[in-house]
């Protein structure tokens, strides 16, 4: 009886979120997988498998004889045929990777500072970190367009400085540089928060112990703080790298023609070229490559532990 009721309550509690995920995550993913094997419709979307005539009668168009006209592997073939897609993937990985790296370097000292300050300052600093979320994402990116634009004080001052040392003026906007600035800016809080949550839990006695046993400041960081903060670093990396990889708005607004990312291409397929099947292929490849990376990282972490 007890068992039954506890099982029932477990289902009642986990049921709704499970259902939600099933409907809005698992189902669309499955639909996308199927879409990847289909053929684009004449006016976008997918070539229909069913047809409803004016009388309201529905007819199944696909059958054992003609399924070749509806189902195809060609979308995947297209992806592997042209190296331009692989290159774009690599470039996106590079953007996301460098963004993640910069975020770690910038966020770590900040998270450390927040974790080590007293309760009141800590709350204030955390508030400041999440403050940007209170304004619209696009507005913040537009702000960067202005900051990096040729007329901004920032650009003007920078080019004056460069002129002093005899360097040609540079244009900041619509460049790789601008894209990376935008990506870092948008994702930085997602690195700071998990790192802070991790560092805040560290036992300060461990650092005292390390120092007592002969470790200097660098050794204390490298042997104690850093390895213990890795869960935070990984959490932040997942929160920064994955969204950054699929980002299209920032390259759209801040990047030039040669700084588009995989997200832009996917968006193009769905909205401009209206080629849903190929867009689906690109999305699936993106998901798979992220999963592959996670698997490699997990495997590397495990084998390192076993070697120890």
């Amino acid at each position: 009886m007890r068992n039954l009721s506890s099982r029932l309550s477990r289902w009642l509690i986990s049921g709704p979120p499970l259902l939600y995920l099933l409907i809005f995550f698992a189902a669309p993913t499955l639909i996308m997988v199927f879409a990847a094997f289909r053929i684009p419709g004449d006016y976008g979307g997918l070539l229909p498998l069913l047809q409803t005539d004016d009388a309201g009668k529905t007819e199944v168009l696909i059958n054992a004889g003609n399924w070749h006209d509806f189902i195809t592997f060609e979308n995947f073939g297209r992806f592997f045929e042209d190296s331009i897609y692989a290159e774009l993937f690599l470039k996106s990985f590079w953007y996301a990777g460098i963004t993640t790296l910069i975020c770690i370097v910038l966020a770590y000292p900040l998270a450390w500072l927040i974790a080590r300050s007293n309760k009141k300052t800590r709350d204030l600093l955390v508030l400041l970190v999440i403050l940007p979320f209170w304004s619209n994402f696009l507005i913040r990116v537009y702000a960067w367009m202005i900051i990096l634009g040729p007329q901004s004080y920032f650009s003007v001052a920078l080019n004056h400085l460069l002129a002093l040392v005899g360097i040609e003026p540079v244009s900041l906007l619509f460049s790789q540089f601008a894209v990376i600035i935008g990506l870092v800016y948008v994702h930085l809080p997602f690195m700071v928060l998990p790192l802070y949550a991790n560092l805040e839990k560290h036992d300060m006695a461990l650092l005292d112990a390390a120092q007592d046993l002969g470790a200097n400041a660098w050794q204390r960081f490298w042997r104690i703080t850093w390895p213990l903060s890795l869960p935070g670093v990984w959490a932040g990396t997942a929160l920064v790298f994955i969204p950054a990889l699929g980002m299209f708005a920032i390259p759209d607004l801040l990047g030039g023609t040669n700084s588009i990312m995989i997200g832009n291409l996917i968006k193009q397929q769905f909205l401009d070229s209206r080629d849903w099947p190929f867009g689906s292929v690109l999305s699936i490849m993106l998901t798979l490559s992220v999963l592959l990376m996670a698997a490699i990282a997990g495997w590397a972490g495990r084998s390192k532990k076993e070697r120890a």
Partner: protein, 361 residues
């Protein structure tokens, strides 16, 4: 020259004085204990020895060298922290190897050194475990092994056994004594447990409110407390108000008001009429329905006020004729007998004149 010399050290936090003009020295190879109630400044003193705090005044000398400019990582002093502070991401062996790596010991020599110290603390088969996979006592031993492995001049231990249960604590006390004998490293041990201090130490500094109240061997501290604080803090002690009645010679006479006269060891500077406290350990008092006593013994009458059966002994609280309560004990060594007296039984007390210790003031 003493290994460690603390000269007139003062440490204040704001306007609070945590350590107040402490001077003491510790010899090489000694098991030295700082004993005192919570908040008396033991940890603060220890942290100054480790280098985590700087004294506001005074000097700390190790091997005759002033330590004030030496940071913690450069001092040949290691600490066993109360919380153990084992590195959770390193195995037992890695934890122990850490100080060796920091000291720049050649990589090839490290495993042998680690094995050696693991053997000392009987943890060979746990080398590959992570700290959270160990019991409290095992963690404790890892912490000690880690602090000992590169043979510091001084090992500081801050209440290392306080997190263990009573049985394990006793075991670890024996191990600590043996280990210290074996490795021959000087231990400075902090505890607020007087039993532990008495059992382990060569010498004890009893601290009170940042000052050293008495510094002596355990037997001296126990039998001849120098002041009321030490008498009260260490073990059970009867404190009887008394007045000096007669001085001169090899014994002096005290008057316990309402009870009578008794003899005691003379105290330097005592003058007739001065009042003070006679300290008397319960186990030094003999108790019987009628005690036979010789000329060296003090003898009083009383009645049983309370009994407390403890198994090996029974505590009897005896009320003297002036109403003062005196704690005494009788061993239950005779078969079948556990209670010799009942409440309100008339009894007699006796103790040797030199069993007690008179404190002036």
């Amino acid at each position: 020259m003493a290994l460690l010399e603390i000269r007139d050290v003062v440490k204040t936090f704001g306007d609070f004085t945590a350590v107040n003009h402490v001077s003491l020295s510790v010899e090489a190879g000694e098991f030295f204990t700082l004993l005192g109630p919570s908040g008396c400044g033991k940890t603060t003193l220890l942290r100054m020895l480790a280098g985590f705090e700087q004294p506001n005044a005074g000097q700390i000398l190790l091997d005759g060298k002033d330590m004030s400019q030496v940071p913690p990582e450069k001092r040949p002093v290691h600490t066993v922290f109360q919380s153990y502070a084992l590195f959770p991401h390193m195995t037992v062996a890695q934890n122990i190897a850490f100080p060796l790596q920091m000291a720049g010991v050649a990589k090839a020599d490290i495993p042998a050194r680690v094995d050696e110290v693991l053997e000392d603390v009987r943890l060979q088969q746990f080398a590959k475990r992570l700290p959270h996979e160990l019991s409290g006592g095992q963690r404790q031993r890892v912490a000690i092994a880690r602090a000992l492995v590169n043979r510091p001049r001084l090992l500081l231990l801050d209440e290392p056994l306080s997190a263990l249960d009573a049985k394990l604590r006793e075991e670890m006390q024996l191990e600590l004594i043996n280990l210290q004998k074996e490795v021959g490293i000087t231990f400075v041990y902090v505890t607020h447990d007087q039993g532990e201090a008495l059992a382990l130490s060569h010498r004890i500094a009893v601290m009170n409110k940042g000052e050293v109240a008495q510094l002596d061997a355990p037997e001296t501290i126990y039998s001849y407390p120098k002041n009321r604080f030490v008498a009260d803090f260490i073990g059970q002690c009867n404190l009887l108000d008394a007045k000096v009645a007669e001085v001169g010679g090899s014994r002096m006479k005290l008057e316990i008001p309402g009870v009578g006269l008794c003899e005691a060891l003379p105290v330097e500077g005592a003058q007739v009429g001065q009042s003070g406290t006679l300290t008397l350990r319960p186990e030094k008092i003999r108790l019987a329905a009628a005690v036979t006593h010789d000329a060296d013994e003090v003898h009083f009458k009383g009645k049983v006020h309370d009994c407390l059966y403890l198994g090996d002994v029974t505590i009897y609280i005896v009320e003297l004729e002036n109403g003062t309560l005196v704690e005494t004990m009788l061993p239950n060594s005779a078969p079948g007998r556990a209670r010799f007296f009942d409440d309100n039984d008339a009894v007699e007390l006796a103790w040797r004149f030199d069993a007690g210790h008179f404190l002036l003031g």
